[in-house]
Amino acid sequence: MATLGSTNNLAGGPPDAAAGAGGASADAKEGDSRRNFNYPLVKICDMVDELRLEAVDMVVTAVEKHPGNYEAAAKNIKEAMDKRCGSSWHVIVGEGFGFQMTYEQKNLLFMYFGALGIIVWKAS
C-alpha cells in the first residue's frame, strides 16, 4: 500500500505540462486521447475470468469512492478481496512506485486506472 507522490498527474494536468514534445495540433490530439484514459486497463492478470472481472470492478468502485485518498481505496479493495476469496490479499494503489513482490499464481491483478497503478495480489 505504498503511495509515492507524483508531481505530474496525467489525467488532470494540462496537455502542455504533460507532453513537451510535438506541435500544437499533436498536443490537442493527445489531450483528447488522454481524456479517454480513464478506463480500467488491465496490464498483467492471471486470475480466472470471473474473478478478474469482479476484481476490476472492485478496484474501480473503490478508487472512485475515495478520490485522491489512495490509502482508503487500497484498504477498501483489500477488504473486499479478503471477503470475496479468503485472506492475505495485498493492494498497492499509487501514481508512481516500484515494486518487487511474490504472489501466489492465479491471484495477481496489475492494472492502470486513469493515472493510477493498482496491484492486487495474494501471498500467504
Partner: protein, 572 residues
C-alpha cells in the same frame, strides 16, 4: 471429649478419708529398711510432711470410727441465691458435693486421630474443631480398602505431513506516469487496429467465437439423439437396469404355477398380472386397443383414447416392450382419441391407426418423427365418425400397402398408400335399406341423404383364405357378409343379435366359421354360409371382445363388461 481419655479417680470423702493401715505407714518414722534379702534394693526413705504430729504407740493403736458418706464436708452449706421470681434471697439446697482428687490425661489415642494428635498434641481443641467440620466418610473401618483402576495410556506417535505450498512467482515492475501513459496509448492503438480489422474479419471472428461456447439447449437435447451408438448403449443399459428390477416378473412368467389350478374347480381361475406398463403421460386415458408387433414378439402398441363422448381429448399411442416396462419405446400424441391400431404383418414398423374424429393415420416407427407419415384428410374421404377398426390387407397388385377401416358413418373404406398419398376407396356403404332386401342394389343417392340411411359399422374381419370376403358387425346387431368385389351389396346378412356387435372373428382353423360378440350379452358362433347362428353363449354381461385360441379351433376367450375373462372351450 472423644480424642482423649481421662482417667479420673473420684472419691467422695467424709472428713479425712484415710485407712488405718495407711495411717500407720504414714505415721511411721522415717527409717532405713534393712531387711534381709532386700539389701541390694535402694533404701526407702519415708518422707514426712512437715508439721505432722508425732504420736506414741498408744495413740497410734487407738481406733477411730469413721463413717463414709457422700457429703462433701468442705462444701458450703449455706448457699443463698437471689430468686428473681420471688425477689428474695433463698437458701439453695443443692450443693455440689463433687470433689476431684486426681486427674490424669491418658496417652492412648485412636489410630485415625493420630494425625490430629500429631499436629496438635498440645492444642487438642483446634484439632477437635476441624474434626467436626470434616464429617468423615462412613467407611467400614475393618476391611476397607481404597480401589482405583487405571487404563493403559496408548503410546503416542507423532506424524506430520507437509502440503505443497501454492505456487508462487515473483513480479518486479515499476509504475510511473510514463508507463501508464504508454500502456494506454498502446491500448488505444490496438483498439484502432481492431476496429479497422473488424469490418473485414467480422464474420470470421463470429464463427470462431461460436464453437467455444456450446449452446446449452443443444447440449441438453443431446448426444443421445445425435450419436446413434451412444443412444443405443443407453437403451441397452436402461433395459439391463429394468431386467434387474423386474427379474421376479420374468421368473413368474416362466415358472409360475397357479395353486388354484390344482383345486380342480374349473369354473373359475385366477390370472397373475405380470408386467405393468404405466406412463405418466397417458394418465386418465382409456386403453382402447392393444396390438402385438408381428415381428418383435416383445413389442406391442397401445392406443389411448376415450369412449366417453363428452370427454374427448387428445389421444396417444405408446409402444411398449416387455424388456422395458418403465417407459414406452415410442410415444405419439394424436389430436383425437385413438380407437384402434394395427401393425402391418409384413412391414412391422408400419402402424395403421383409427381415430375418434374419423381420420386414419399411418405411423412409421422407424422414423423418429413426431407425426404420422400419412393422414386422411376431409377432402380425401376421411370418415365422419369414429373409426372402430383398421386392418391391413395384403399388398395389392401394384405392391402398394393397403388397409381397411370401418367407421360409425357406415362406410368400410380401403386405403392405399401410393408414394406420399393416401388414396381411399369406399368398399361398401352399410345401408339399412339393404338389410331388408340384401340382394338389391342400393340406389345411389346424395351423400347428405345417405348419411341417415347408413348403419353404423362397428367391426369387421376378413376371411382367412378368401381374400375378398369379410363380415361386418353393425350397431343394430346385424352382421353382413360382404365382398370387396361387389360394391354396395351384401352377400348375406346374419340376424340374431339384438344389440350392437362389437367383434367378429373368423376361426383361424375352420375358415368358414366365425364368432361374434355383442352387447346383448351373447357370443354367437356362425357358419358364414347360413344366416342362423350355430351356437349361442350367454355370458350374462355385455361382451366387449372375443378371440380364438391360437392353438385350438374349439377354444375361445371372451371378455365382458364386468371385468371377467371367459375361457370357453366349445364343443364344436
Amino acid at each position: 471429649m472423644k480424642s482423649t481419655r481421662r482417667t479420673k479417680i473420684v472419691d467422695t470423702l467424709a472428713g479425712r478419708s484415710l485407712s488405718t493401715s495407711s495411717m500407720k505407714s504414714v505415721g511411721a518414722d522415717p527409717e532405713v529398711n534393712t531387711g534381709g534379702g532386700e539389701d541390694w534394693l535402694p533404701s526407702k526413705t519415708l518422707l514426712k510432711p512437715p508439721g505432722q504430729c508425732i504420736l506414741n504407740e498408744k495413740e497410734l493403736n487407738e481406733e477411730f470410727t469413721r463413717i463414709l458418706n457422700a457429703n462433701n464436708p468442705k462444701a458450703p452449706h449455706n448457699v443463698a441465691r437471689f430468686n428473681h421470681k420471688e425477689h428474695i434471697f433463698k437458701a439453695s439446697p443443692n450443693v455440689d458435693h463433687l470433689v476431684v482428687h486426681f486427674e490424669f490425661d491418658g496417652y492412648l489415642v485412636f489410630k485415625e486421630d493420630a494425625i490430629n494428635a500429631e499436629d496438635g498434641e498440645s492444642s487438642v481443641a483446634p484439632a477437635v474443631e476441624t474434626e467436626e467440620k470434616k464429617k468423615p466418610l462412613l467407611r467400614n473401618q475393618f476391611n476397607f480398602s481404597e480401589r482405583a483402576a487405571q487404563t493403559f495410556n496408548n503410546p503416542t506417535r507423532e506424524r506430520s505431513s507437509n502440503t505443497e505450498p501454492p505456487p508462487t512467482r515473483v513480479l518486479e515492475d515499476e509504475v510511473t506516469q510514463f508507463s501508464i501513459y504508454d500502456a494506454y496509448c498502446e491500448d488505444a492503438l490496438q483498439k484502432e487496429k481492431a476496429a479497422k480489422e473488424k469490418p473485414r474479419a467480422g464474420k470470421g471472428q463470429k464463427d470462431e467465437e461460436k464453437p467455444g461456447i456450446l449452446p446449452s439447449e443443444a447440449h441438453n437435447e443431446d448426444v443421445y439423439n445425435k450419436n446413434a451408438e451412444f443412444g443405443k448403449s443407453i437403451i441397452i443399459i436402461e433395459r439391463m437396469a429394468n431386467q434387474n428390477t423386474y427379474d421376479d416378473i420374468s421368473q413368474d412368467y416362466k415358472f409360475w404355477e397357479d395353486a388354484s389350478d390344482e383345486l380342480g374347480d374349473r369354473k373359475s381361475g385366477t390370472l397373475l398380472p405380470l408386467w405393468k406398463f404405466v406412463c405418466e403421460k397417458t394418465k386418465r386415458k382409456q386403453v382402447t386397443a392393444v396390438c402385438w408387433n408381428p415381428k418383435s414378439p416383445d413389442l406391442f402398441a397401445v392406443a389411448y383414447g376415450s369412449y366417453d363422448f363428452s370427454k374427448q381429448g387428445p389421444g396417444m399411442i405408446a409402444c411398449f416392450t416387455l424388456k422395458n416396462p418403465s417407459y414406452p419405446e415410442y410415444l405419439y400424441i394424436t389430436d383425437s382419441g385413438v380407437l384402434c391400431l394395427d401393425f402391418h404383418p409384413q412391414h412391422p414398423s408400419m402402424m395403421a391407426v383409427g381415430l375418434y374424429d374419423g381420420s386414419v393415420m399411418i405411423y412409421n416407427l422407424q422414423k423418429k418423427s413426431e407425426g404420422p407419415i400419412f393422414k386422411s384428410t376431409t377432402s380425401k374421404g376421411k370418415h365422419t365418425d369414429p373409426v372402430w377398426q383398421v386392418c391391413w390387407q395384403k399388398d395389392d397388385l401394384d405392391d402398394n400397402a393397403n388397409f381397411f377401416s370401418v367407421s360409425s358413418d357406415g362406410r368400410v373404406s380401403q386405403w392405399t398408400l401410393i408414394k406420399n398419398e393416401l388414396i381411399h376407396t369406399d368398399v361398401i356403404r352399410l345401408s339399412i335399406e339393404a338389410l331388408n332386401n340384401p340382394a338389391s342394389v342400393i340406389p345411389i343417392k346424395h351423400d347428405e341423404e345417405r348419411l341417415f340411411d347408413l348403419a353404423e359399422g362397428c367391426c369387421f374381419d376378413f376371411h382367412k383364405k378368401i381374400d375378398h370376403l369379410f363380415v361386418v358387425g353393425t350397431e343394430e346387431g346385424k352382421i353382413h357378409k360382404c365382398s370387396k368385389a361387389y360394391n354396395n351389396q351384401y352377400l348375406l346378412s346374419f340376424e340374431g343379435h339384438s344389440m350392437g356387435v362389437y367383434t367378429v372373428k373368423y376361426n383361424p382353423f375352420l375358415c368358414d366359421v366365425f364368432l361374434s360378440a355383442s352387447a346383448d350379452w351373447t357370443v354367437k358362433l356362425w357358419d358364414h354360409n347360413s344366416s342362423k347362428p350355430l351356437m349361442s353363449f350367454d355370458l350374462s354381461c355385455p361382451v366387449g371382445d372375443v378371440a380364438w385360441a391360437p392353438y385350438s379351433s374349439s377354444v375361445f376367450a371372451a371378455c365382458t363388461a364386468d371385468g371377467k375373462l371367459n375361457d370357453v372351450g366349445s364343443c364344436l
